[in-house]
Subunit: 214 residues, 2 copies
Amino acid sequence: MRTVFHQQLDDLKAGMAGLCDLTGAAMAGATDALLQPNLQAAEEIIDRYGDITGECARLETDAFTILARQAPVAGDLRAVVSALKDVADIQRMAALATHIARIARRRHPHLAVPADGVSYFAEMGRIAVHVSEDTKHVVLLGDPEQAARLRADDEAMDDLHRHVFTTVMDPAWTHGTAAAVDVTLLSRYYERFADHAVEVANRVIYQTTGVRST
Amino acid sequence: MRTVFHQQLDDLKAGMAGLCDLTGAAMAGATDALLQPNLQAAEEIIDRYGDITGECARLETDAFTILARQAPVAGDLRAVVSALKDVADIQRMAALATHIARIARRRHPHLAVPADGVSYFAEMGRIAVHVSEDTKHVVLLGDPEQAARLRADDEAMDDLHRHVFTTVMDPAWTHGTAAAVDVTLLSRYYERFADHAVEVANRVIYQTTGVRST
């Protein structure tokens, strides 16, 4: 039998899944804006961040209302508290996508990324969107295998981040300091985006299985 | 009359105040390690991060136990949920201090910061430690004036961050790409450190006064 509590928790998860969709779309748009480059796309991503924070505030209120009205205990309480933390992580992912759009806007009509680095950032963007989709499915289904795939994507992202960092630090870097700074920050934003997704996945899996990932 | 709930909440706040002390000490140590430079100090800060995450986990468990046993509602519930978020912000501050220590370690025995930038980072470090102390007092006392001072410190930090960023981006920068990357990341870590403190302060003040800071 579905209790009122479980119905409300399912609604909260559905809202978080929608938030993952918004965040994934923001990251896809930010990467397009960065690599085409496209000023209008960048502006749209920056403008839409307010909608995402509004949605986060709504989900936090919903979680708070469940705590206040249902006074869940044990695993049920843990599920709601975890959801509150997940929303904060997903909001931060959206903020990082917005930071990428801001760098694209700042450099327009020039590319913020040197031409020979475009393929790396395209790959980071692709992984980040994939990670958003996996986060959504982990939130909805609590599947440990999907969470493991998400962590594998995070490792691929870390490898790309290290590669970009090594390239920028190499004395053979010829694109100047400003490009180095942009590339460093961009790479960090993509890497942190995946880190937050892993936080969500680890929390959901701990919630579902009692096993803490390291 | 003090209820069991309020005693437990006070204990939680005292624990968070201790966490602010640990975080401020980590930031002071990381800045020393960076600017002297001092490898042993850097190693100590990196090693001690595990103690801080352990303390955060303990405080989260305490908050969770209060929710489970006392089932607080309205303002009391909000206080405990806010404390959970505050702990996450303060843990992130400690992580950022650790990132600074890692850069100091990576560059040792060289300075990661060019000699003419040392005074800026010394000032950022001073503000960050001050911000940790203010965060502690805001958590303990919920004083809106102290929160306002903390926000003023955050603005001073933002000004320094912008100045450093402009300096690095200037074609007159002569310290090379690797130093530019280090300085960019360091400056961002200090800036984010203060941002998280402002998040805590805004949450505490909203909790205390019902007025949301922007």
